[in-house]
């Protein structure tokens, strides 16, 4: 792998790391497997791209993406809590609906961001070499998001979110409306995913309706890699591990895509297959280990 490819992978790891933080929040903290992310990632990209092409400041477009993602997550959570639709199904419904909505927002399947100002231009204007601009700004965003989430989860409200995932009966009898908490939590999660999508779009120079496919699987793979390698004993450690897991995942993918077996090479389109196999292995490994040990 060339240094250039490695830098690219780290950059991707950071920007998708923001999405992974969101996935960790629902999947591990709230115990709410949420597939909305496959739709809210391109939603954030679409909102940001359309806003920028209409002359909105790229940073302001990120705020709009955050808001859009929050609404998408909140809808999934409302379908689940208020209308008793199974969380997986509720999130699939929102995800499918977002596919159409994203095309509506972009008035087509994609929007190019050519010759417009993005968040990178402001960093490059400061004199940062363009190949490092991505790592710098995404790293900065990712670290800020991790710090904010870790702080938030230590507040009274954040502790109630942790308790809702851990023991809903207990926190209900302590006076917390778990429905509100789940709506808030899934909303925040998808806001982060949309932010991640917005940054990806500004990086790639385009928003595309198909860019969200496989987001949840990549998110889960990163979460699992992070937990396995870096542990998850405290909240701070768990979220840092999720972010670093994302970087490792992108490095592993870059490595796999660079491999050659005779005349066989992986295509970028094989990414989802590789990821799915990776997640399956990680999920069944503890079972197999248990069986082997008990023999």
């Amino acid at each position: 792998m060339t240094l250039y490819a490695a830098l690219g992978a780290v950059e991707q790891g950071f920007v998708y790391g923001i999405m992974v933080i969101g996935v960790y929040l629902t999947f591990r903290i709230l115990d709410f497997p949420d597939l909305t992310v496959d739709g809210s990632l391109p939603l954030g990209a679409a909102i940001s791209a359309v806003a920028i092409t209409n002359g909105v400041n790229p940073y302001v477009s990120l705020v709009l993406a955050l808001a859009g993602g929050f609404v998408a997550g909140a809808i999934t959570a409302i379908l689940n809590t208020k209308f008793k639709i199974l969380h997986l199904l509720a999130s699939i419904l929102t995800m499918i609906a977002l596919y159409s909505i994203n095309i509506r927002i972009m008035s087509g399947p994609n929007v190019a961001l050519l010759g417009v100002n993005t968040v990178f231009d402001s960093v490059i204007a400061l004199g940062v070499p363009s190949q490092y601009a991505g790592i710098l700004i995404f790293g900065l965003f990712a670290v800020c998001v991790v710090s904010l989430i870790v702080w938030f989860l230590s507040t009274e409200l954040g502790q109630a979110i942790l308790a809702t995932g851990d023991n809903p009966q207990m926190i209900t009898s302590l006076g917390v409306n778990t429905h509100t908490i789940i709506i808030l939590g899934v909303g925040i999660s998808n806001a982060l995913v949309a932010l991640s999508g917005a940054l990806v779009a500004q990086n790639q120079g385009a928003a595309d309706v198909g860019m969200g496919i496989g987001t949840i699987v990549a998110g889960l793979a990163s979460v699992i890699i992070g937990e396995t390698v870096f542990g998850h004993r405290t909240i701070g450690r768990a979220f840092t591990a999720a972010l670093l897991g994302s970087v490792l995942y992108r490095l592993a993918i870059a490595l796999a895509l660079g491999m050659e077996f005779g005349s066989f090479r992986f295509n970028p389109s094989d990414l989802n297959l590789i990821t799915a196999i990776l997640v399956i292995c990680a999920l069944i490994a503890p079972n197999i280990k248990k069986r082997v040990v008990s023999r």
């Binding site: 507040t155 009274e156 502790q159 942790l162 207990m170 009898s173 302590l174 409306n177």
Partner: protein
């Protein structure tokens, strides 16, 4: 003061599985009452407590606490008045949170939760002080996760958490039934001390007739969703296990008599 008026609750109404766990129950609980609740399985004891706590809404009747009609209030809103300890020691605490985080959650029962720190330094002193009373050494383990504690320790912690801020009513649903006899006695004594100290209005379900007699100032026996025995003060003091058993069998006997009529 709690006031239940003509509470009726069906489960699976209209189906072949229809049951009537609460049949037109009315109950006035005075402030400071410590009521022990007994009855056979399926008599409606837990349903009665769940109904007061708001786990479900009754099909008819009304509930008020401190002159506030809470019939339509959901469970989380009633938490302002009510503390609960469940039979399962795992239900009362968060396993992955530390002791102090759990207590910090409990000290804001029924209050708004904002962006202030979850665990506050000034509260830690209170936690430590309270834990010292337990005599389990937990005051030195504020940063340990609760998942590491034994069932008895968790139930003791749950008792403390339930009474960190004084509830208008404390509901104990067989809260010692899942513990070994020695731990059960400890938790029971702890319960008595806390209830006495804070003069708490309490409803305690038990299957142990001796406990039902020894604890509290009032005893109610439920059978088939009705209160069939309600003894207070002097009447309760002179009650013996034999008296209770004979009442118990009388209710069972009626059932038999009815059955034999049906079958005959």
């Amino acid at each position: 003061m709690i006031c239940l008026e003509n509470i009726t609750k069906y489960f699976h109404k209209g189906s072949v599985n229809e049951v009537l766990p609460l049949n037109n129950i009315s109950l006035q609980v005075a402030e400071g009452d410590f009521i022990t609740v007994i009855g056979s399985n399926g008599a409606g004891k837990s349903t009665l407590l769940n109904c007061i706590a708001g786990s479900f809404f009754p099909d008819s009747g009304s509930i008020s606490i401190n002159n506030c009609d809470v019939t339509a209030w959901p469970e989380y809103k009633r938490a302002k008045f009510i503390s609960r300890v469940f039979q399962d020691p795992l239900l009362g605490t968060c396993p992955s949170a530390t002791i102090q985080q759990n207590m910090a959650l409990a000290i804001r029962r029924g209050l708004k939760r904002g962006l202030a720190p979850g665990v506050k330094n000034r509260d830690k002193l209170i936690f430590r002080e309270q834990l010292k009373h337990l005599g389990l050494g937990l005051e030195e383990r504020l940063l340990d996760t609760v998942g590491l504690l034994s069932g008895g320790q968790r139930q003791a912690l749950t008792m403390l958490m339930a009474t960190l801020i004084k509830p208008a009513v404390l509901l104990l649903d067989e809260h010692i039934a899942a513990l070994d006899p020695k731990t059960a006695t400890q938790i029971l004594n702890l319960t008595r001390d806390i209830v006495r100290e804070q003069n708490l209005t309490t409803l305690m379900i038990t299957h142990n007739m001796k406990h039902a007699i020894a604890f509290g100032n009032r005893l109610i026996m439920l059978h088939q969703g009705r209160i069939i025995l309600d003894l207070k003060g002097k009447d309760k003091e002179k009650l013996t296990v034999e008296d209770l058993l004979s009442e118990f069998y009388k209710s069972q006997g009626e059932e038999l008599a009815n059955d034999s009529l049906l079958l005959g």
